[in-house]
């Protein structure tokens, strides 16, 4: 019997290679060519008066120094607006090299092609750029003030969007109680270990542009490059072999450097590489998370929410290449697991002279959950009802699915929850952390410490369309080759896709080899983001495997002179059900599927015993059939599937230092059927770690001139593993009815409720309101002093 691998905690096949330093990242791709070095703006808002590059050309090893005016063809255009939206009234994207104006510290101004990055940086010191600085617009207050980021965008408003369900004004008018909250969260970023990178080679013999790129979406990089360079798609090959994390930043494409390396490779007929360094990652990739929310909530004596009115401002930085996806997600995910009969949300997405904001793992859901969960806690405090009980009273119930929120989700389709069991999630996490035993534990808090507990729930739309595909091919040597256009950036796709194919096809897990994100192998894909890879490509490779299985059974039926309905595939052998003696190995079926005249292997020779068994009046490949034991499969869902979870945390806060220590962190997570619990738990660990980072350690510290003051890991406090507690995890498996495998996405979940739950626990410990995240000891100390004064 082939042992089932779906659902098993199989170790990642990727890790052996990665742990031994045998990964193949873009920067590993040779250094014999040219290196691209960018000169970036030191001003947040300035006109460029002049650029003198003459001395840089003199530096030995410099091949070219380019400014905007040197760019040819379509390279002079602004980069594409990837996702337009009717409410996005004033989208703006940056140029490959700044044209007349720079709008954030870090914007690319000059490109240097040189023999290596050292020479490039030496040459960069010799370029003289004259700027006329203007007042920088930094932070939401400034964005709402008189100074402008783009002269032609009044009020700095890129988008102004309203959605509503029911009648909020009436509900708030009639509600027995109304509370108001002002909440905000600051910026952070994904900080992948590997920054952005691209290595482009032009093969003038085959006229192919080969690009290894650290991207979450190789197929789209390919189309973008072909489009802007005005060459046929067929001439461009893009692959991402190993990518050291992406977290959303590497979904954005094309970056200026993607185009410049590709263009330079053709122009100079030499490989060109760009490897972003850490400072560049801080000041020229993407940030996320700065939003300010004003909330009004109406509720009855039992704590049932009657109406919720949310008005928030989203700081989108200087440009909007990814449209307004992030704030749209906040708007539609804010209701979470709760019934909101009357809900209105308005947001303004505003420009500032800072790095662009695009989705980062969690994608503006942390703000949504922070808003909703803080609101619930506030109601509980007001009514003096247990916080868990208040949640119970507002949950959507298990028998109410599919549950229509009455809103449009980020994929342009109705936001309808497909399945879930929120009450059970909550009960499980409460039991895990022993919620009811907390008062007893609190009474034993050691001197010098204050103890608090918090819980937070969330719902996450995952597995968005439009589609993904996968290809499965059985080789005559017995190996099963699987490819997806969708790329990997550390998720473990090679393992889970192999698990799925192994089960669907009936072959040992070890015989399945997976390649992801290589346009030479599979041309169609959307990309790895929005917790969609397992749902989308997982179901697509399952479909491909099913098609291959059907074909194998057809071919084997002829060879074995059996009825196809009587055949099964077990352990890579097609056989009469329950009769292993009457079977034919899949490898031999692969030989039969491709009736060559030649035989290369034992399998082929063995297969000849079956050859000729068919009808001699029919051609070897019948009309409508293709040679080869292979198939492509596709999956395209009607809409997103909604995962959910509940986190609970117990903290101790030091009375002297105001440091927050996490004593226990508990997660109950429901992503439908689990393909591989080990991988899901790994995703949760990483997500929770990034959540803790955003809650207690990280923020982008801009000064008022728009300089990022902490653009290094010395000052930007990404936590080490020593700062992250053990994360205790339990699962609930509510299958999704939307896809055959019954799965939901799991990649982002861990990060989503962390700020909310830590705020709740610290609030519980300190006894005053926490409305702002992240929470640093220095700020908590000041809040204590302020609250002590108020209560005196």
């Amino acid at each position: 019997m082939t042992t089932q691998s779906f659902g098993k905690a199989i170790r990642r096949t990727e890790d052996d290679r990665l742990i031994r330093g045998r990964g193949s990242f873009t920067d590993d791709a040779g250094s014999e060519g040219l290196s691209l070095t960018m000169i970036r703006s030191p001003y947040a808002n300035a006109r460029i008066l002049s650029i003198d590059v003459s001395e840089a050309w003199e530096v030995e090893g410099v091949r070219a120094v380019l400014t905007y005016s040197d760019l040819p063809g379509r390279l002079v255009e602004p980069l594409p607006l990837l996702i337009p939206h009717p409410s996005l009234v004033a989208p703006r994207t940056q140029y490959i090299l700044a044209k007349e104006h720079v709008r954030y510290v870090g914007e690319a101004v000059v490109a240097i092609f040189a023999t290596d990055r050292y020479v490039g940086e030496d040459a960069a010191e010799r370029v003289i750029v004259e700027y006329e600085p203007r007042k920088a617009v930094v932070g939401i207050d400034a964005a709402l003030g008189p100074d402008l980021v783009h002269d032609d965008v009044p009020g700095n408003v890129a988008a102004d969007h309203v959605e509503h369900v029911g009648n909020v004004d009436q509900a708030l008018d009639e509600a027995p109680h109304v509370l108001e909250l002002d909440l905000d969260m600051e910026r952070s970023m994904g900080s992948s270990l590997e920054g952005r990178a691209s290595h482009a080679t032009w093969d003038r013999h085959s006229r192919k542009l080969r690009i290894q790129n650290a991207t979450q979406t190789p197929t789209s990089v390919r189309f973008a490059v072909a489009n802007i360079l005005e060459i046929p798609d067929e001439q461009v090959e893009v692959f991402a072999i190993d990518v050291g994390g992406g977290f959303g930043t590497k979904v954005i494409h094309p970056w200026p450097e993607d185009i410049l390396t590709a263009w330079g490779a053709i122009e100079y007929e030499r490989p060109v590489k760009f490897t972003e360094d850490r400072v560049e990652h801080f000041i020229s990739s993407s940030h996320e998370r700065a939003q300010r929310h004003q909330i009004k909530v109406g509720f009855d004596d039992e704590g049932r929410i009657l109406g919720l009115d949310v008005d928030f401002v989203h700081d989108n930085g200087a440009y909007t290449p990814y449209g307004m996806i992030a704030p749209l997600i906040t708007a539609t995910q804010l209701p979470g697991p709760y019934k909101l009969p009357n809900y209105r949300v308005r947001f303004r997405s505003v420009y500032t002279n800072t790095v662009q904001v695009t989705p980062y793992r969690g994608a503006a859901r942390p703000h949504a959950v922070f808003s909703m969960e803080r609101t619930i806690d506030r109601i509980a405090a007001f009514l003096e009802i247990d916080r868990a009980e208040l949640r119970r009273r507002n949950f959507i119930q298990p028998d109410e699915f599919p549950y229509d929120l009455g809103m449009i989700f980020q994929d342009g389709r109705p936001a309808i929850y497909d399945s879930g069991n929120y009450p059970e999630l909550l009960e499980k996490v409460l039991a895990m952390i022993d919620w009811d035993g907390f008062p007893e534990r609190r009474s034993q808090t050691p001197p010098g410490r204050r103890r608090g507990i918090g819980v937070a729930c969330y719902v996450e739309g995952t597995g968005l369309g439009p589609y993904e595909g996968g290809h499965v091919r059985v080789e005559t040597g017995g190996k099963v080759q699987v490819s997806t256009g969708l790329a990997s950036s550390g998720q473990g796709h090679h393992t889970v896709f192999a698990q799925i194919v192994s089960d669907e096809l009936g072959v040992p897990f070890e015989d399945v080899e997976v390649v992801t994100g290589d346009t030479r192998r599979f041309q169609y894909a959307v990309g790895t983001f929005a917790s969609r890879a397992a749902v989308m490509s997982g179901n697509a490779v399952a479909e491909a495997a099913r098609l291959v299985k059907e074909k194998a059974i057809q071919i084997a039926a002829e060879a074995l002179e059996a009825n196809p309905d009587d055949l099964e595939i077990v352990d890579a052998q097609v056989q009469v059900k329950g009769t292993p003696a009457r079977g034919i190995p899949l490898a031999q079926v692969a030989v039969l599927a491709n009736p060559l005249r030649y035989s290369f292997s034992e399998a082929a020779r063995a297969a000849t015993q079956f050859a000729g068994a068919g009808d001699l009046d029919e051609p070897p490949i019948k009309p409508g059939e293709d040679p080869g034991l292979e198939a492509a499969g596709w999956y395209s869902p009607v809409r997103a599937t909604f995962a959910s979870g509940a986190h609970a945390v117990e903290v101790e806060v030091d009375t002297a230092t105001s440091e927050v220590e996490i004593l226990r962190y508990c997660v109950v997570h429901d992503c439908g059927r689990l393909i591989n619990p080990l991988i899901v738990e790994g995703q949760i660990h990483g997500g929770v770690a990034q959540g803790i980072a955003g809650a207690l350690y990280e923020k982008m510290a801009y000064d008022e001139d728009g300089n990022l003051q902490n653009a290094s890991f010395m000052d930007f406090l990404m936590p080490y593993c020593t700062e992250i507690p053990e994360v205790e995890i339990d699962h609930l498996e509510t299958p999704s009815p939307l896809n055959p495998l019954g799965i939901k996405g799991a990649g982002e979940a861990g990060v989503i409720p962390v700020s909310a739950v830590i705020a709740a626990a610290v609030e519980d410990a300190e006894g005053f309101q926490i409305n702002h995240m992240p929470l640093f000891p220095s700020e908590l100390h000041e809040m204590r002093l302020m609250n002590a004064e108020v209560s005196e």
Binding site: Y118, E121, P719
Partner: protein
């Protein structure tokens, strides 16, 4: 994040290192490189010549005498930390080393490099200050000793001459009836401390404080030495208590604010660490 061009000179001896320093324009000593190389990668420092002393056997010694511990300039943080000799002669050095950075950095970074680097957030600058230690230097015009009190002139500024290198650092051992302790708060494990204090308390024969002092990290341009003699002499620490010590320190310390701590928070935290390190000496 690539350094400007420089030439690299591995020194074969202290004499040669001193020779290089006197002859080469714009030269710097390279020890563990854990502070210098990052500065060069950011092009905040662009020395033309690096003189590497990390391989010098003559600087690799740890000497413990009756009254002192002497650490050579190529001895790494890890070697100090692991030295049993140091551990029994002057446990404070080991306690401080544990608070410095992470293992991989301690494996290369040197104790004397920390002192030359003169970072007021560095643990060793505070330790040598509170112990009244000294560094021993070499140059073509001869060596000298620089007392801790004269060593630090400002953030990343020592009183070393450009043609001079540190060959070792000397720390007096603690006398009888003398106790020391180091307490600090860092945002992440191994980070430079946001605030910290290292205290040395000498008791008289009645177990009352004879003298007490503490050096504070990260509160000024150089390590800040505070004497508790007026407050504590002839008393017990626990009798004076947290509040008095806290208030005394709050009035003494004038720290700056930065990204990790407002000036007020740092003053508060420094006073708390001052108390905590004294309390640990009880």
């Amino acid at each position: 994040m690539k350094p400007s061009p420089f030439s690299y000179h591995p020194a074969a001896s202290v004499d040669e290192a001193a020779q290089f320093l006197s002859e080469l324009e714009d030269a710097k000593i390279l020890a563990g490189g854990q502070s210098l190389i990052p500065l060069m990668n950011f092009r905040l420092a662009s020395p033309t010549h690096l003189i590497d002393i990390s391989g010098l056997a003559e600087l690799s010694e740890i000497k413990v005498s009756e009254s002192e511990v002497e650490i050579g300039a190529s001895v790494t943080h890890s070697q100090v930390l692991q030295s049993e000799q140091v551990g029994s002669a002057l446990p404070l050095l080991v306690e401080a080393e544990r608070l410095i950075a992470h293992e991989v950095i301690r494996n290369r970074g040197t104790l004397c490099g920390s002192l030359a680097h003169a970072d007021p957030a560095g643990e060793m600058t505070a330790v040598i200050t509170v112990l009244n230690g000294r560094v021993n230097t070499a140059s073509v015009s001869g060596g000298r000793t620089i007392e801790a009190a004269d060593l630090f002139e400002g953030p990343l500024q020592s009183s070393l001459r450009e043609d001079e290198l540190i060959v070792s650092a000397t720390f007096p051992k603690l006398g009888p009836r003398t106790v020391s302790s180091f307490r600090e708060v860092a945002r992440r494990h191994g980070d430079y401390a946001v605030a910290g204090a290292v205290s040395v308390v000498e008791y008289d024969n009645d177990d009352q404080v004879h003298s007490a002092r503490a050096a504070f990290l990260s509160v000024g341009p150089v390590p800040t030495l505070v004497s508790f003699d007026d407050l504590l002499r002839g008393n017990r620490i626990e009798d004076v208590g947290h509040n008095e010590v806290y208030n005394f320190l709050s009035s003494q310390l004038e720290p700056h604010g930065d990204l990790q701590a407002s000036a007020d928070y740092r003053r508060h935290l420094s006073a708390e660490m001052g108390w905590a390190s004294l309390e640990a000496c009880i």
